[in-house]
């Protein structure tokens, strides 16, 4: 497990628009944090910056080790990233090859890698899918393959970008169960505010590339004025009365 520390982290798009604006943040080892904010708040940019996938300014420290260009590769070995769209991660002819991809960089030999992959696939209940092509799987199944690729890495840090997008309620429930089984430091960016309440006690409210608030999820999400000010809505489970028609 690893801690994450960000100091004055900023990132600008090539057209000069600021996506992240002097972010200071400290996430403890083993913590689970949700990242919430309207479209364009900077959630994805923040995750990409932590993974060293975009060139940000400021400091990123993983387990108190500063991330430099030299060290990025090594630090990434301890990280997994579940990207927004499963198609971004799946490009090999078979599911097994997708899950195994990159496991060799973790100093696993091939047999170990395959074993790990099988294990991960069975955790997401996709045993027997190893020789299928991800292309022919349903959306929910592809999502699960992506989560399996992350699980197979057994990383100290796992970053999730909208992992339940387009899933039906059952697929979403499956994800929540898997999330609770995972260990390590987890960051979860999502629009699904009910999901935040079910997975992370602590959350970060992000808007315009800045941290608006950090704290208890139920408390922040229950603040009607705050939600409205940032184009969000208080989730139904935090309001006392059912929706009436």
């Amino acid at each position: 497990m690893s801690s994450i520390q960000l100091r004055q982290l900023s990132f600008h798009y090539s057209d000069g628009i600021s996506a992240l604006d002097r972010i200071d943040l400290q996430l403890e080892s083993g913590s689970r944090t949700a990242l919430v904010g309207p479209n364009g708040a900077g959630k994805t940019s923040l995750l990409l910056a932590v993974a060293g996938l975009i060139k940000s300014t400021g400091d990123i420290l993983i387990n108190d080790v500063p991330m430099t260009i030299k060290r990025t590769e090594q630090l990434r070995r301890e990280m997994s990233f579940v990207f927004q769209n499963p198609d971004e991660m799946l490009f090999m002819p078979t599911v097994l090859e997708d899950v195994c991809f990159g496991l060799d960089t973790l100093d696993l030999d091939e047999t170990e890698a395959v074993e790990r992959a099988h294990q991960a696939l069975s955790l997401v209940s996709l045993e027997g899918y190893d020789q299928r092509s991800s292309h022919h799987l349903s959306y929910g199944e592809r999502r699960k393959v992506c989560i399996a690729t992350a699980m197979a890495r057994q990383s100290a840090i796992t970053l999730f970008d909208e992992p339940t997008r387009e899933l039906d309620p059952f697929g979403r429930r499956t994800f929540i169960d898997l999330f609770h089984q995972m260990s390590g430091t987890l960051i979860l960016a999502t629009h699904d505010l009910e999901l935040v309440l079910e997975t992370c006690d602590r959350m970060i409210l992000l808007d315009g590339g800045q941290i608006i608030q950090i704290g208890n999820s139920a408390k922040i999400l229950g603040d009607k004025d705050l939600m409205k000010a940032h184009k969000l809505e208080v989730p139904h489970s935090l309001t006392w009365h059912p929706h009436s028609h």
Partner: protein
């Protein structure tokens, strides 16, 4: 490799432009006659794909990368006439949007890449029954054909003398063509595994 503006003289520009324009008109006519409505968006998306492939630096190791043309692949998937049309469209867009190749030298580039790849390369591919060797031979021979064309164009324009032009172009186009053949083979193998109905398509 795209020839920029400034390296071809007037007669070569006019000749290559003329031949390409005729070939384009002919392929448009043929495609217009046979096209099915559902192929129209497909051609657009494939043009986009070919465009992307041409911009994409394919790393071949030792710090160098090459750019594929996609001509062989697209002709195998959609037939040489549609392939030529798509290649021409993408070469025009490359010149206008990325300045890969000039506007007045477009005719020459169409001949060297689209013409050779879609007609000579594809023809050779169809001649040889074994797919593996046919793709590699087709890639290599169309590379050589492009080299011949390109060196004649440059030599006739008084840029280079024919023999040194040919040696240089052979090295560049021959290697690129060979690698294009190999990569096309890989792509077809992938398609056969993941979506076999594409490879059994027209052509």
């Amino acid at each position: 490799m795209h020839i920029p503006d400034g390296f071809l003289n007037t007669p070569v520009t006019l000749a290559t432009g003329g031949i390409s324009a005729v070939a384009l008109a002919y392929s448009l006519k043929r495609v217009n006659e046979t096209i099915k409505p559902e192929q129209i968006p497909l051609m657009g998306l494939m043009a986009s794909f070919v465009f992307m492939i041409q911009l994409f630096s394919f790393p071949i190791g030792v710090g160098t990368s090459i750019h594929l043309t996609g001509a062989l692949l697209i002709s195998i998937l959609l037939g040489p006439m549609v392939g030529f049309l798509i290649m021409t469209v993408s070469l025009l867009a490359l010149a206008l949007l990325f300045q890969h190749g000039g506007l007045l030298s477009l005719g020459a580039n169409i001949l060297n890449m689209a013409g050779v790849g879609c007609f000579i390369g594809y023809g050779i591919y169809r001649l040889i029954p074994s797919q593996r060797s046919s793709l590699i031979i087709a890639g290599l021979l169309s590379g050589i054909a492009s080299a011949v064309l390109c060196s004649f164009e440059l030599a006739l324009s008084g840029m280079l003398d024919l023999s040194s032009a040919f040696k240089t172009m052979l090295l560049i186009y021959g290697l690129t063509g060979l690698i294009e053949g190999v990569i096309t083979l890989f792509i077809l193998e992938f398609l056969r595994k993941v979506k076999p109905e594409l490879v059994e398509g027209p052509g």
